[in-house]
């Protein structure tokens, strides 16, 4: 049961990197993108369905591995940077067409998306006890992979060519490495099996709905005209 829930945690974190990776990549590319409306329109319908994977990661950490939750306070500054950047990126998307100037919010989205990447570098490197400079370098790697994935996504969505699988898999690598490195320690810190049984019984019936909703997003917004809400 503890291994099953570690699998859920890993799947959610990998899913977050693969999916939110292209949103953040497109965000960082904005200053270099001539048609920003179309770029943001391309990721727009996916953002709400993608970012929520990380909220689920935190939920699984609380519910199934509460003893591991001190990774957040142990990497306090990185988590604060992650949250503030995430909040500002979202605010940029919601407000871009509506408050102040578009350029202000586009720069906010770009800088905040980069901030999320740096925070991930610091946080994931912190898990392995690596130094801050190494964390920043790791963050640059995350940013580079996300930018690649974001470019690929824009090509795929706006011109309809190729596949997202390779860049998507590459975007997940920075998460997979620490997951492999910490797997033993995380599993050893799982909640009692009675808890995991309750969680399994409660969540299992919803798995088809969760998967179905995500697939529906891709089927509905994977092609056709680009919507203009964000």
């Amino acid at each position: 049961m503890d291994i099953l829930w570690f699998g859920v945690l890993a799947l959610l974190l990998i899913g977050y990197f693969t999916l939110e990776g292209f949103d953040l990549g497109v965000g960082m590319l904005l200053p270099l993108t001539p048609d920003r409306d179309r770029a943001i329109g391309a990721i727009g319908p996916f953002v709400l369905a993608n970012e929520v994977w990380l909220i689920a990661v935190a939920g699984v950490l609380f519910g199934a591995f509460p003893a591991c939750e001190n990774v957040l306070s142990a990497n306090y500054e990185a988590v604060v940077l992650l949250l503030v950047s995430w909040v500002l990126r979202d605010a940029g998307l919601w407000f871009r067409r509506r408050l102040f100037t578009r350029a202000f919010w586009e720069w906010t989205i770009a800088v905040a998306s980069f901030g999320v990447c740096l925070a991930w570098g610091l946080l994931l490197a912190g898990l392995g006890g690596f130094s801050v400079p190494f964390g920043l370098l790791y963050g640059l790697l995350v940013a580079a992979l996300f930018v690649m994935h974001g470019r690929r996504f824009l090509d795929w969505r706006l011109t309809g060519g190729g596949s997202l699988l390779v860049t998507g898999a590459l975007a997940a690598v920075p998460a997979i490495v620490p997951l492999v490195g910490t797997a033993g320690a995380v599993v050893a810190n799982a909640a009692p099996s009675a808890n995991l049984t309750v969680l399994t019984f409660m969540v299992l019936p919803f798995v088809p709905v969760l998967a179905g909703a995500q697939i529906w997003v891709w089927r509905a917004f994977g092609k056709g005209p680009v919507p203009a809400y964000f």
Binding site: P45, F46, V47, L48, A49, E51, V52, W53, I55, A56, A58, G59, V60, L61, F62, G63, A64, P66, A67, E69, N70, V71, L72, S73, Y76, E77, V79, V80, L83, V84, W86, V87, L88, D90, A91, W94, F95, R97, R98, L99, A191, P192, A194, N195, L199, M202, V203, F206, L210, A213, Q214, W216, V217, A220, F221, G224, P225, P227, A228, Y229
Partner: protein
């Protein structure tokens, strides 16, 4: 202020900001879902415009609900790891279920609803807003389960230095939960009703063109506020029995909790009276212009009452994080420094307050602009013709 005070104030401020947006989300979601259903049935332009106008307000409000909620969730891990250390095996379960089987779906379906205009089949599109509503209520359920555990640690047992989950059913039938959950949901309807009334009253008072649309909305708001205030007051008083059963001295020697409670009850009764009068006059309310400024004037009150209610509930728990098990002072992250909490306080409270102000400015602007220029559900611009 020391580290503990700052951590508490940070949680109180981000929590209050979060709830200001959540309470309106809970109230508006079913109303927008009803309007959208009506539009799908009739196909009339009037129903379409109403759905898009109120939907735009709903979505704009929702944006801040999400970003404040993100900070709330991670704050437990940042500042209150003592709580997870002591009771994570119990407290973590409802939080995990909230994220997995409520909010995950809510966020995904909301994306489908916002971007699904002119794209999803009509009735499936209507289904997404109902799914958003249901999952929002499910979310409120799990959060209230978690909060009720702090008020009364039902379903848990002491095991050496920590609490263990003993009876999941008891967690869900906590006496601190049974009346508090409907109280919170009807507070949402009250806020939703008053906001809909107020924005409609603004347009009717200004004699803007959408007279019929806003007359209808005003009546809908009046009925919602009436049902909401009756239930919120009823379930509020119904809580006294179960709450004083498990927290007998909740409002004794806790002046802030007692003040919050007293003021909330006062405002609750006042709003009940206003809603009762309006429901009697509902037939004439759209035409009687002298009523409209009065309606706009009382609209901040249900928001204030909602915050006062949380102050009463949470201050009445002090100095306990978990009632008679763990103190707030013992729940704080060990070794949390003044520098860390100051940085996160400025970052979270500062950024979220600015964004909240910006969001309310935007909502007021959407209300004033009226139902003619609504971005939500706009017809997509025609695809550019291919040129060679």
């Amino acid at each position: 202020m020391d580290v503990l005070d700052l951590a508490r104030l940070q949680f109180a401020m981000t929590g209050s900001l979060h709830f200001l947006f959540v309470v309106l989300t809970l109230g508006l979601a079913p109303l927008v879902a009803i309007m959208h259903t009506r539009y799908a049935r009739t196909g009339s332009t009037l129903d379409e415009r109403a759905t898009r106008f109120w939907g735009q307000i709903y979505v704009t409000n929702y944006a801040l609900g999400i970003v404040t909620g993100i900070v709330m969730e991670f704050q437990f891990g940042l500042s209150w790891s003592g709580l997870t250390h002591y009771a994570g095996d119990v407290f973590g379960a409802p939080l995990a279920l909230e994220t997995l089987i409520a909010f995950f779906l809510e966020s995904t379906f909301l994306g489908l609803w916002i971007f699904g205009w002119h794209r999803l089949p009509k009735w499936l599109h209507v289904a997404t807003i109902w799914l958003v509503t249901i999952t929002a209520y499910a979310s409120a359920f799990w959060i209230m389960v978690a909060n009720s555990f702090l008020q009364h640690p039902a379903g848990s047992v002491r095991d050496g230095e920590v609490l263990r989950l003993d009876d999941f059913g008891a967690l869900l039938t906590n006496p601190s939960l049974s009346m508090a959950l409907p109280h919170v949901l009807s507070a949402g309807l009250t806020v939703g009703g008053f906001v809909v009334m107020s924005a409609s009253a603004y347009h009717l008072f200004r004699r803007t063109p959408d007279r019929e649309l806003f007359s209808r909305s005003l009546r809908m708001g009046v009925w919602t506020a009436f049902a909401g205030t009756m239930m919120v007051v009823g379930f509020g008083f119904a809580q006294f029995g179960p709450v004083t059963g498990v927290q007998p001295d909740k409002f004794v020697d806790r002046p802030l909790a007692a003040f919050g409670l007293g003021m909330m009850i006062l405002i609750g009764h006042l709003l009940q009276l206003v809603a009762l009068v309006l429901v009697i006059l509902v037939k004439w309310a759209p035409r009687w212009r002298f009523l409209h400024p009065l309606i706009m004037l009382v609209t901040p009150l249900p928001f204030i009452a909602a915050i006062l209610g949380w102050i009463a509930r949470e201050e009445g728990r002090q100095p306990w994080m978990i009632w008679e098990r763990l103190t707030v002072a013992d729940a704080i992250t060990p070794g949390l420094t003044g520098g860390q909490i100051t940085v996160s306080f400025v970052a979270f409270v500062g950024v979220l307050t600015l964004l909240a102000v910006a969001d309310y400015v935007l909502i007021v602007r959407i209300v004033r602009r009226g139902a003619h220029e609504v971005a939500l559900g706009e017809n997509p611009a025609p695809a550019p013709a291919l040129t060679f």
